[in-house]
Symmetry: C2
């Protein structure tokens, strides 16, 4: 938690990963993020992983440091309260449909400076999940050794869309400061995915080559990099991106003469050219397989570290969770009283601001925990009217 | 291109994916992003994919709409010019080391309101690439069917760090407006990765279960989702996240009775519970394998679309690049005069702002294309002094 965004309030009406993560990033930077959900929880409220009591460990981490307002969004009164909260606040992050009661034009009635950030599936407004757009842009057909497609487990498009949505919110707010004008910023997963393919040169590559990149397994395209197995059975990734790293790697593995022989035979120099190291990987990889395979991991790691060569052994998520440097001793982690009752390291903002003191991570709210407070503060509703909404099942409280 | 960030100028001293993508997102939203590189190009200037002339299709896409200043950063005069540009501009995105001539404290001398956003590898400042932090947090050991680890091809951590860095820049600038104070915001890939594991519930999950999630291949954890193959050999992903999608999927495939039989046998109801559909996937998947395998893809797709069930066939990146809806007819794409001379669809901002007119994507600069203009405008250097720098090889021009 930092206070970079203190003073900013945002309504978040959303579910799943992308839109909630945008709200999370804002909340971890000190914004007041008011998540509005269906009473009893939205469609992501029980999403796995869950505890034995069916409390979602996913939900309580993606919604840390937010407030929760619970409404019956199936009824007009609940929808009107959400609309009123958006208008009273002035900025909203949502993945609700672009048409209907959460349409920007509807929300902006009486609030022309409203900023709406809308995470979408397909750009035409039809639903899509991370998996759908990932298949559509081709990455599963490039991942793994083939021939079958492999979906990556990380919801990368959701996450990228969420971070981009947080950026887009602040960008649209900056324009509002300059011009006074509100706007809707739509962030479709499908455009984030195909736009990223383009940004990384992928569209240009396949149209230039007129064919797809070959499946490379764990080898890295366009430079020297792959996984290797040490004498004691540790599989580790080694990747070279600078001439110095290459020189130091070759020397550390005692491959100077063998590499020189390949260079002489092929009439090339690997010293300064990532591409050549990739093109001639058929000759290089066997040398490195043998050299890495002759060393114990600890010895290899020490030699590579000394030469500034980046490497990283594969490990499991449980190993990662128990890594002291990465988690227990990492200042981004702290503890919080979680709704599930289960205690574990909780993350704050990814970023570190050396000039500021980092505050401890906050827990996620219980569904409706802040309904009364927010309706009173934001809409100036009298306590009696809020009580009437609660009795009528329009407003839920924790 | 939109003008949400017009009036903002940012120095970008960076390379590879994460830091340049942060600058790209700002440039595509109308900021003036001045990328400062070594004369002749930084370490990423020839990165693959490249054309037959060794022009990087990667570089010219990740650096669209930016200006380029080329300096000899190995010499004190070049470094001083970069420092002066940072001080004159007031905000910088960089992945240069936290210590040295691009340290925040050094840059902030005479410019106490400076905002520095620094993308890093490991949080302690030692170098790491996307592949390193990915291995460290455990995703390759979860991706694919196993037992070997599978690295995803998408540089997801780079991309997420880049988008988050763009968000962090605007957040730190917002605080500066409120308080007048500058700050450095550090975004280490390693903290983005382990923080994301935490945000998605992964840290909690493995510590609660005291074991790792099983390898699931292309099946989705915690809900109903996997790839299936149609009668005509099309492999497609189907994922269910709402009760309505489940009901419509079961009906569309004529599985109502078969599912009811499983429910009766197992004593469960799949109607409203994602988790049960996952837990009992051993019974469900064979039914769907058979039902999908009996249908042609076109028929299946029509039936699923009618029921609002999301699905997506696997395809290659070349197929994606040639998809009219996704690329040629997609308003985020346009054409630009690329440094490589090769013409292809170029992406603008992922986001769409219905209230604003989208401007065409801009090309990437040539190395040093804007050196003279920027040094004159930003540092008020007289033409003669710039010429002296050029003659001395301190400043490069295109």
């Amino acid at each position: 938690m930092y206070d970079l965004l203190s003073g900013l309030s945002v309504i978040e009406a959303s579910s799943f990963v992308a839109s909630p993560s945008a709200g999370l990033y804002c909340a971890q930077m000190g914004a007041e993020v008011i998540r509005v959900d269906q009473i009893g929880g939205g469609p992501d409220f029980r999403r796995w992983p869950v505890t034995g009591n069916n409390d979602s460990l996913y939900w309580e981490n993606l919604n840390r440091a937010k407030k929760s307002v619970a409404l019956d969004l199936a009824r007009p009164e609940g929808r009107e309260l959400l609309q009123a909260l958006v208008r009273a606040t002035g900025q909203v992050i949502t993945n609700f449909p672009a048409k209907g009661f959460m349409a920007h034009d509807v929300l902006a009635q009486g609030r022309p400076d409203l900023v709406t950030v809308r995470v979408m599936g397909w750009a035409d407004g039809s639903p899509a999940l991370d998996y759908m757009v990932n298949n559509a842009v081709g990455y599963p057909m490039m991942t793994g050794a083939g021939p079958e497609p492999v979906n990556h487990v990380l919801p990368a498009w959701d996450l990228l869309s969420g971070a981009y949505a947080a950026f887009a919110l602040l960008a649209a707010m900056r324009r509002r400061v300059e011009t006074g004008a509100g706007s809707e910023v739509r962030v479709p997963l499908s455009d984030v995915a195909i736009g990223t393919v383009a940004n990384l040169g992928g569209i240009a590559e396949v149209l230039y080559e007129r064919e797809n990149r070959p499946r490379l397994g764990n080898a890295v395209y366009g430079l020297f990099g792959r996984d290797f197995v040490t004498a004691d059975g540790v599989r580790t990734m080694i990747v070279v991106v600078t001439p110095r790293q290459w020189a130091n790697l070759v020397e550390a593995l005692g491959l100077t003469q063998a590499i020189a022989a390949v260079e002489a035979e092929r009439g090339v120099s690997f010293a300064k050219d990532d591409g050549l190291r990739f093109t001639h990987r058929d000759a290089l990889f066997p040398l490195f397989d043998q050299a890495v395979g002759a060393r114990k991991h600890a010895d290899l790691a020490a030699a590579l570290d000394a030469g500034g060569v980046v490497h990283s052994a594969y490990r499991t998520m449980l190993d990662a969770a128990n890594d002291r440097t990465l988690v227990a001793d990492n200042p981004i982690f702290g503890t919080a009283e979680n709704p599930s009752g289960f205690s574990y390291p909780a993350a704050g903002a990814f970023a570190t601001v050396p000039q500021l003191e980092r505050q401890a991570p906050c827990p996620a709210p219980r569904n409706g925990q802040h309904s009364e407070e927010v309706l009173a503060d934001r809409l100036s509703l009298p306590a009696g009217e809020i009580a009437r909404f609660i009795d009528a099942g329009i407003v839920g409280v924790a």
